[in-house]
Symmetry: C2
Subunit: 197 residues, 2 copies
Amino acid sequence: MTDGRSRRREDTRQRLFEAAVQLIAEQGFSATTVDDIAARAGVAKGTVYYNFESKTVLFEELLRHGIGLLTAEFRAAVAGLPPREALAALVRAELEYIRRYRAFAQLLLSEMWRTNREWQQTLRLLRGEAIEVIAETVRSGVAVGDLPADLDVRTASSALFGVGLVVAVDWLVFQPDRPIEDVEEALLGIVRRVART
Amino acid sequence: MTDGRSRRREDTRQRLFEAAVQLIAEQGFSATTVDDIAARAGVAKGTVYYNFESKTVLFEELLRHGIGLLTAEFRAAVAGLPPREALAALVRAELEYIRRYRAFAQLLLSEMWRTNREWQQTLRLLRGEAIEVIAETVRSGVAVGDLPADLDVRTASSALFGVGLVVAVDWLVFQPDRPIEDVEEALLGIVRRVART
DNA sequence: GTTTTTGCACTGACCAGTCAGTTTAAGAAG
DNA sequence: CTTCTTAAACTGACTGGTCAGTGCAAAAAC
């Protein structure tokens, strides 16, 4: 009921989010304990439960927060650009986001396609919102003739979203020595080829 | 050789693999209990431990088995084909594989990019073998001039591997009503565009 | 003086792994 | 064909440990 949340409390919640996202990205939701999260956040266990109803709720709010941010960045990236450029901007925005919130991206990649988990419904909805931004861009690009007419909007959108995630996380996990600019350049090259009319 | 005893044991192991792959795909490794696996396989818990050293070993053998199969299909798919056609064959092989072993593909997508797990080393190695088949094809295609010269081999290979997984699993999880042929056609269209010199 | 955090003991459910005992396949002996 | 023997395969109750979540008094922050 006490929704007049103080700055201090907001700080604590933020620290808990950060601790949780790192641990869950590394180990997965089930393997991560509430004690671990509290310890990494430098906070007592009771504080976790003072700030969140349960471990699951903490995770759901984390998902909402993280994907909300991504969707917002997608929206900002495409604003006012013609479709072809908007597409490149989306790729850059996605990589930039993943670079900034690498642990969250890793977590997303691992939990996105799971079934039979409590939070699946939440995740499905959020995914839809993020992909819709991509789909709108592709759709209008095809309509205007700025993108190839035979491009399948649904597949292309989920492919674009997915390929960014996979390539970037793959880079983080398996080729961390490689500069991100390389990866970005290579990926943009591929996307540009697909976008060619 | 075809001793009734060892055949029985092989059957049991197979049933355990199938039960484990389904459950782990749905819930993840940590959230899946050995009791669940035993129950779904229609076998007592002790039998799991009679056939496998531990839950982790069961999972590692599962990974080896599953990715070994995928690598073999990749090899068979590209055999004797010129690079451009080999690339299309790889996409088809990957989708066909995912259609046949959908739960395993889902599991792979979820566990592939995790860090800090006991089996990470195993997975890394196996992933390398599968992607190497793709990389060889791309590399020789670029060398022969059959694929665009500016294509980055490492990124393109992991992107191709990843995009297949993502698009196919995405289809399985979020658009199961859609015919696979659609998805395959759309994906092939995209890959063909990338392959154009 | 109200909100937030701490520290810590406690509970009850759950779960990986064990082990003493039972069943089964397959062959040997009668 | 029937009975006996053996080893492999399987069973399921049990153990020791872990972990989500609770309760609460005292302290710190605002």
